[in-house]
Symmetry: C2
Subunit: 202 residues, 2 copies
């Protein structure tokens, strides 16, 4: 059926965020990434900086031990950890954004959160390590000596976060409709392929 929403999951350094923005610009639809975090922070009463530092980190004893009040989440303030409540808030926001109309959403397990909708195109962007490290240095300004470790660590965080909250496997084909090696095919070609896949259902 015709697709309305595009979710993009991506490895760190694959350019998935840039690709998502290009897709949104080409299609003339909203793009959500950091905006999403800030909106969720605002709605949930979390401080934006804190949310950014917490997002996509695996749960830790520290977070578990926190008794952080979040009365509007529907989860109460008891057993659910801060990380769980953050996930609930972010998921609510994603569902509301999707209900408003066509958009591109990067990260935040959006493919899983919106899995009951039939009008979502789920995309995964990946690349080999060399391409990711190069991009992390040239585009994100990471220290060349530390970039490889940072890429690996960030992807491990993302995989852990996704697998924990979804009971799926991050980057496994059954969770996505289109998977693109952006290192091999390039950023622009990847964006064009997503646009073509999105329009194919129209």
């Amino acid at each position: 059926m015709a697709k309305s929403i595009i979710t993009i999951s991506r490895e760190f350094g694959s350019g998935g965020r840039t690709i998502g923005r290009k897709v949104a610009e080409t299609l003339g639809i909203p793009f959500y990434d950091r905006e999403l975090i800030e909106m969720s922070a605002e709605q949930g009463g979390f401080a934006a900086d804190f949310v950014q530092n917490t997002e996509q980190k695996v749960k830790s004893k520290f977070f578990h031990s926190l008794a952080f009040g979040y009365m509007n989440s529907g989860l109460g303030s008891g057993a659910a950890s801060l990380s769980d409540r953050l996930f609930a808030v972010t998921s609510d926001i994603i569902r509301k954004l999707a209900a408003e109309g066509p958009c591109v959403i990067v990260g935040r397990c959006a493919d899983y959160v919106l899995s009951e909708r039939q009008d979502v195109l789920d995309v995964f962007i990946y690349s080999d390590l060399a391409h990711k490290v190069r991009r992390a240095v040239t585009e994100y300004g990471l220290d060349p000596d530390k970039a490889e470790a940072e890429v690996k660590k960030t992807d491990k965080y993302r995989a852990n976060h996704y697998d924990y909250y979804t009971d799926r496997t991050w980057g496994a084909k059954e969770n996505y409709h289109l998977m693109i090696d952006s290192g091999e095919l390039g950023i622009d070609a990847a964006a064009n392929l997503i646009v073509a896949a999105y329009n194919a259902g129209k």
Copy 2:
């Protein structure tokens, strides 16, 4: 860099073979699938029927116990099993076909066989079970009561065969540049995406 060869790996019932043929027709380049087997059979001295029955089956004690003469493979007629020798013959053919110029090759671990070339676009076509079973019944004429079991069994064979000969994991993203859910996106859209990816490097 510019792509010359396209390899397509596919789940049974995903329509990967049909997609590959459409891509080849659109690009005006040769398509190899069964032709490949027949060529390999002819070159290697195997009977065509026998090759077709043996291809993509996991090795069995029966095959191991065969002492099948194949003097031109470079492997001799000793320790290598029939399955190993078939793989060697097919791989030789794939490399020769690729050396002749642009083409589409479906199956036969071609992505692995050609992995030293930089001008190969490796594609994986997949789908959910329901789509694959439906296609197996409507397109391949399988008994509806047996189609699901046949789909699962064939995919298991393909995975076993690929993993055994390549030390890679069939359907894992690191082995492909583009992965398409043909059940969700459709046969024509899948073919168009592959053509677009191929032409993007030109």
